[in-house]
């Protein structure tokens, strides 16, 4: 314990020197050419062939028998034909139809051949062509020029918006983005670890603005750009295509659901993480349509973190090339929670959610990026209302959920260092065990969700929405959720005294939970309850034309839009607070 203590103190000392005279973090890696993402881009020509080779190996491994491999190719072709016919994108390559047609012809020929229990040459060739096509599509490119441009222009644009409401200070620059976005958490720890190993940032996802905020956060932390998967649809527009291509985003095509594509995508993620490229996953997959904190994560992409960590021990490779400064072969998972008083796309998202519910397995895979006009409007309202955004970083952990100290070691509760390579061993030997690793992935997802709940910052707007919806639900207990959402306006009234009493009771319960580390409270959550209610209702109402909550002329609480009220109330779902209503 003593040695860890002194090491921590020593690091804390050096860390305090890492800010410039304005209190900003200095970049961890000054020269863009040292950034893992840049080096990955530079080594694209050697990386992509390796990706193809390993993805082909993986496809063989996953299918098991030559017949199953053949079937998988056939299934991929079938699904691709449907995609081309029913859901074409502007960004699809011009030879898409021709390529898949030629594959189809080859498949027909190969189906007639007798394999004698071995993989057919034609199947092997097809597999290679398909995976090669996917690999080239997925792998991104990082362009330092675009990055420099974006990192200068975006904050400038942000600041302009933020200052627009305050013309006096516009030129002084004193009232900047930093005042309105509250970033909390172990920032120095994350900076430190970025120099020890690979960071995997896993934020909650509520809005398309999240990506912009995360980009801003990384810049504030002085961290190099992170690799992230961007929906291929975002590359459709010229404006975004330019940034995405240049910022090192790799392409994720949600339309492609065939096994070969998924395995290539996962292999890309596994290899880049293993090779030391700091990455960003939205582990919930898409934006949370119901406004609730993620309760279940997508395990596919997350499993690549476990695979990558395992391969860091069993197949160390490429790390020196991408991240030569890294001291160890660890992957550090950093959860992050983003909290808005109001969400840009709330109306559309909750509409989709309610539409989807009840329709089993109905999947909305068209992501429409909000128009520039909508973003502009949002920013103006945000500024005008002096609203705030809260970003909370969780404590870094290893891929098994163990705590990590400043020196990058995994530690148990007693402060003992854990040799995490042993998680992959049985009787002292590395052992391949897919079932074990899939359980490790589930455990990691549980740890991330746990961190989401603990690092969630409860805002006044969440609390008033949660209280109001639940009071209405209780008052009309004979109705189901849909019934409550359809309540006529005159049935939506809640007497103020009752409302205030419940808000206070919940706030006090949340305070106890916060003291116990189960959740975080924004500063405005303390103090006078009437002021808190006013703050919450005001902030909820800033952006939406129909207000989720209003105070009527008679002083009661009511709602103009029950769907939105439901959406914002969901943010506090999952904390087991019903008994306080």
């Amino acid at each position: 314990m003593e040695t860890i203590q002194s090491k921590t103190e020593e690091l804390a000392y050096t860390l305090s020197h890492e800010r410039d005279e304005h209190g900003h973090f200095v970049p961890v890696l000054e020269d863009l050419k040292d950034w893992p993402i840049y080096r990955l881009g530079k080594s694209r020509d050697t990386f992509v062939p390796k990706l193809i080779e390993r993805s082909i190996e993986q496809a063989h491994l996953m299918s098991g028998t030559p017949q199953k491999l053949h079937d998988q190719i056939a299934q991929a072709l079938y699904l691709e034909r449907i995609r081309i016919k029913h859901d074409p994108y502007k960004v699809d390559p011009p030879d898409d139809k021709k390529f898949w047609k030629s594959m189809n012809e080859r498949l027909v020929k190969s189906s007639l051949q007798n394999a004698n229990g071995e993989v057919l040459e034609a199947d092997a060739e097809m597999l290679s062509s398909i995976i090669s096509r996917y690999a080239h599509e997925i792998a991104g490119n990082f362009n330092p020029k675009t990055y420099r441009f974006a990192s200068k222009v975006l904050p400038m644009g942000f600041n302009r918006f933020l200052n627009a409401a305050n013309t006096k200070r516009f030129w002084s620059g004193k009232f900047g983005i930093r005042d309105r976005i509250k970033l909390t958490g172990p920032m120095e720890h994350v900076r430190e670890l970025s120099q020890k190993g690979t960071i995997l940032l896993t934020p909650t996802h509520f809005s398309n603005l999240d990506s912009v905020l995360i980009g801003w956060t990384l810049h504030q932390l002085g961290l190099p750009a992170f690799l992230y998967g961007a929906g291929l649809n975002l590359f459709n527009g010229q404006f975004f295509k330019y940034f995405m291509n240049g910022l090192g985003a790799y392409r994720v095509d949600r339309r492609k659901k065939n096994r070969l594509y998924i395995e290539t995508l996962k292999m890309y993620s596994r290899m880049t993480l293993r090779d030391g490229c700091h990455s960003l996953f939205f582990p919930g997959g898409t934006r949370a349509r119901d406004g609730q904190l993620e309760k279940r994560l997508k395990l596919g992409l997350l499993s690549t973190a476990i695979d990558a960590q395992r391969e860091c021990f069993t197949h160390p490779n490429g790390r020196q090339l991408t991240n030569p400064n890294a001291e160890n072969n660890r992957i550090y998972v950093v959860p992050m929670v983003i909290n808005y008083h109001f969400v840009l796309e709330a109306g559309g998202l909750i509409h989709q959610f309610l539409e989807k519910q009840g329709k089993d397995k109905y999947y909305i895979d068209k992501e429409i990026f909000p128009s520039r006009k909508a973003v502009l409007q949002f920013m103006q309202k945000f500024v005008g209302a002096k609203s705030e955004i809260f970003l909370s970083l969780g404590d870094p952990m290893d891929v098994f959920g163990n705590k990590v100290d400043l020196a990058g070691n995994s530690i148990d509760r007693n402060g003992n260092t854990i040799d995490i390579s042993n998680y992959f061993k049985t009787n002292g030997e590395f052992k391949t065990d897919l079932q074990r690793d899939s359980e490790y992935t589930k455990l990691l997802s549980e740890r991330i969700i746990d961190a989401f709940y603990k690092k969630n910052t409860v805002l006044s707007s969440h609390l008033v929405a949660y209280t109001a919806f639940n009071l209405l639900f209780r008052k009309h207990r004979r109705l189901d959720q849909y019934g409550v959402l359809r309540l006529p306006e005159d049935e939506r009234k809640i007497p103020y005294a009752q409302f205030a009493q419940v808000v206070e009771r919940l706030r006090d319960a949340l305070k106890v939970m916060a003291a116990n580390g189960e959740v975080q409270l924004a500063n405005h959550m303390h103090g006078d309850i009437d002021r808190l209610i006013q703050h919450g209702i005001y902030n909820l109402g800033v952006y939406h034309a129909k207000h989720p909550l209003v105070k009527t002329d008679s002083g009661d609480i009511s709602s103009e839009d029950m769907n939105l009220l439901f959406y914002y109330h969901n943010r506090l779902k999952g904390y087991d607070l019903q008994s306080y209503i």
């Binding site: 163990n402 040799d419 998680y423 079932q435 189960e518 008994s579």
Partner: protein, 344 residues
């Protein structure tokens, strides 16, 4: 020959150690000198001690020599035991516990007061405690109709080894397998663990019925309605009903509710025979897990409005001084009259 570890030398721990000794060397950790002396003399709690068992008071030795360890101590002492073992544990260790109890950690750090509502996030299963107190991830539990005295006599029996990990299940099965001990497997760790925990409530109730001299009809009513209440509590704590219908659920329930050998049953029987709760508890040699479980179940019922008439009745006998006669009356006249309502 593999070396297995057992932490705890109560009657069940000793029975498990004897089974393990059929497949390898066994190190049993204990804290008391007199138990050590019993082990060395070859008999403890009426059970012969297999010669392949080595008793030890050195926890570090157990952790260093055995990769597969079975912690079987009372739920009250479980966290403390884990804290002591944690510094010696490594990520490759496998822990399969056999403790049928729950812990509650209230936010103020105090014990749960009887009658206080309890939220599920404050309840810890033993597997949760292992995860909280150590870095071990490969965790499992054994549960089933395993009355220690019958096992000691070499009668055929079955148990369930449950874990999220194949590796844990397989190694647990290999270690425990014997011609007289059938080991089933399950991935539903929460269900298996909670089945074993919650059946203790019914075992106490069954003891009361036995002590009152009531017959099989009454007992059958208790077992079937009791199972329903166990499932309701299990669901509240996030388990599915599946495991409750298997060896660790119905299997264990039938055994403990029928056997005067079980501790929980004995508590109920002696209460029905006129002793007070404190009289019985003070004279029991080993911990009666069900007593604490009733308090927790009652707390859950209050907080989540669960309808648990048997739990309520037993709670009022154990903690509120109600008479057994009053509670029986209450049970026979309450308004819940839908059969198999736990399936809805």
């Amino acid at each position: 020959m593999p070396t297995y570890g057992v932490i705890g030398s109560g009657s069940f721990g000793t029975a498990i150690a004897n089974i393990l000794a059929e497949n390898g060397e066994v190190l049993v950790y204990m804290r008391r000198e007199e138990v050590m002396a019993n082990y060395k003399a070859g008999e403890h709690k009426g059970q012969k001690i297999n010669t392949k068992i080595t008793p030890t008071m050195d926890l570090q030795e157990v952790c260093e020599r055995a990769e597969l360890i079975f912690p079987i101590v009372s739920s009250k002492g479980f966290r403390n035991m884990m804290r002591q073992a944690a510094p010696f544990l490594k990520p490759n260790h496998i822990l399969i516990h056999g403790t049928k109890g729950l812990n509650v950690t209230m936010p103020d750090g105090k014990d749960l007061i009887a009658g206080q509502p309890v939220k599920k996030r404050y309840i810890r299963k033993m597997t949760d405690i292992i995860q909280e107190e150590s870095m071990v991830i490969k965790i499992g539990c054994i549960s089933g109709p395993n009355l220690a005295r019958e096992i000691a006599k070499g009668q055929p029996a079955a148990t369930v080894v449950s874990s999220r990990f194949n590796e844990v299940i397989e190694r647990g099965k290999t270690a425990l397998r014997s011609p007289r001990f059938r080991v089933y497997s399950s991935y539903d760790m929460a269900g298996v663990e909670l089945s074993g925990v919650l059946k203790n409530i019914m075992a106490i109730s069954s003891g009361i019925i036995g002590g009152l001299g009531l017959g099989e009809n009454t007992k059958a009513m208790l077992i079937s309605r009791g199972l329903g209440e166990m499932i309701k509590i299990g669901r509240c704590l996030g388990a599915s009903h599946r495991s409750f219908l298997g060896i660790a659920g119905v299997g264990d329930l039938v055994a403990t509710c029928s056997s005067p050998l079980s501790r929980n049953y004995t508590l109920g029987r002696r209460l029905a025979e006129g002793e007070s709760v404190s009289q019985v508890l003070d004279t029991m040699e080993e911990v009666v897990e069900g007593y604490n479980t009733v308090r927790i179940a009652k707390g859950l019922a209050i907080n989540y409005n669960l309808e648990l008439p048997i739990v309520e009745a037993l709670y009022s006998v154990l903690f509120e001084g109600s008479t057994i006669a009053d509670c029986m009356q209450q049970l026979m006249t309450n308004s819940l009259d839908v059969d198999a309502d736990f399936l809805e």
